[in-house]
Symmetry: C2
Subunit: 223 residues, 2 copies
């Protein structure tokens, strides 16, 4: 298999990220491309979730993935090997988040011919990525069971900017004190409209609900 | 029980954090106070580990804790209720890390009479806290088993600045693909001198080794 493309992301020069993000979103709308910004803590299972999900939707949508990481390109390789779709690695060079201009640098390096859905796997961090609009159509995040059900109390901004919270690793629920109902309540405190979907990326349980959500989102975006 | 003190941390005005951190470390050495900077991802078990450890050493050392969080003061309350030691909450107001000046703001609000050891529980984040010297005598971090053994590959700076890596939640090792030997190898790639101690904060297994490390560290610092 070919080596994955690795893009060394440069620091943005734009002063107003919100304006830049708004412009990027408008361009994506015109092109009929849906961009999802997926955030989480390190090790919550973003890559495994993406592999499962992409394999469920790749016959219906043309999907591409941008994997942001400080270093290493293990994730982009994993995604490509497990799904066969186009996947590139964005190296942030120590930067803790992506903004709209950095996201654009990634999109410029992705073969976009016919692509319906681009998923940006943001840097594993519950703090900084929440502060920067990437220009995505939606923000989603993964909270894994071992992290604890109290995370919406501790990382308020992350949960208030996300429209979808995937609660991953439900298979290990019996070994952790994790109360899904309580967690959902905390998520709604931050964002009353947020959708919460419990999944287990390892076994595939619940991933179809995320896939359906994505298919509907992309369909509505293209209208 | 009294309410815990909550300090709203202000942004630093100092241009050179390294100089400021060096000064703070010198002051701590003169006072015979050991400061440990404990970092990790969200939900890796920092607070539970601290409770277990403090209860093992509090008869030998006078310990105080500073809990940094963007919001909420659940951790400082937990620590105080479970150990009886002095514990304050530092609110970072959305900031993703602590630097030396912010750490000093916390120390200034802690009753320091007779204190041998101060533990700073940094913001749950594997990226930004690694970039800022807090003025601590040592950096330590917790990597929990569910996060995966590949984290030293993905967050190189964090692992290179830490002298001690606690691998927590070893009780759930059978349910995750986590190879302790491989992980230790990755840690040593980043910092050949790093000590790796596997622990289970929930059951207490291995925590005595961390407690012994701390006792020796504080003893050497006071010489």
């Amino acid at each position: 298999m070919d080596e994955v493309k690795v893009i060394e992301i440069k620091k943005s020069v734009f002063a107003d990220n919100d304006i830049d993000a708004g412009n990027l979103r408008k361009e994506l709308k015109e092109k009929g491309v849906y961009l999802l910004n997926l955030m989480s803590s390190p090790g919550s299972g973003k890559t495994t979730t993406l592999i499962r999900t992409i394999n469920l939707i790749k016959d219906k949508l043309r999907v591409a993935v941008m994997e942001a990481d400080i270093d290493s390109d293990v994730d982009a390789v994993k995604i490509r090997e497990a799904t066969g779709i186009e996947s590139i690695q964005l190296h942030t060079g120590g930067m803790c988040h992506l903004d709209a201009e950095m996201t654009r640098q990634g999109l410029d390096n992705l073969p976009m011919e016919g692509v319906d859905l681009v998923i940006l796997e943001n840097v594993g961090n519950l703090v900084c990525p929440a502060e920067f609009d990437t220009g995505s159509c939606r923000n989603a995040m993964i909270l894994s069971v071992p992290e604890g059900d109290d995370k919406p109390l501790k990382y308020p901004l992350m949960f208030s900017v996300c429209d979808l919270v995937l609660v991953n690793k439900t298979d290990v629920m019996p070994y952790f004190d994790f109360d899904l109902e309580k967690c959902t309540g905390y998520v709604r405190m931050r964002n009353p409209k947020a959708r919460v979907i419990p999944i287990c990326a390892k076994t595939g349980e619940g991933v179809d609900a995320f896939a359906d959500w994505l298919l509907t989102e992309v369909e509505n975006w293209k209208k």
